[in-house]
Symmetry: C2
Amino acid sequence: MKIRVFVSLKDGVLDPQGKAVGHALETLGFSGIGEVRVNRVVDVDVPAKTAADAIAQGEAMARALLANEVIEDFSIEVAE
Amino acid sequence: MKIRVFVSLKDGVLDPQGKAVGHALETLGFSGIGEVRVNRVVDVDVPAKTAADAIAQGEAMARALLANEVIEDFSIEVAE
């Protein structure tokens, strides 16, 4: 079963990557751009029979590796 | 208006980052994991009045900077 783990910086946490992308877009002529935030989405094929089991495995993976819970939030959905 | 640009590697393109995440998960005891793919999602606040205009700006940004069209696909949605 495929799950999708969406990882994003918590509100208020500075996003240097987003800032860099924003500056680069301005340099390329895209004016008037507001905030830019760069997030990660990790698709994982997990050995689960049910959606609940797949999401539980995803949460364990997110807490163990995929997300830094000090500065990041994560959410999980079953992709297929 | 906020748009969300979803950038993912094309099918068949090797994802070394995904492979590394998969190995790390196995090392942490998550057995039986299949393919892992790591994608980018860039949220951009664009100066657009309509959804169509926002998406058009997003496409131009994706082609100019956010996606490498040789190996990546992108899709855009209006987030708010």
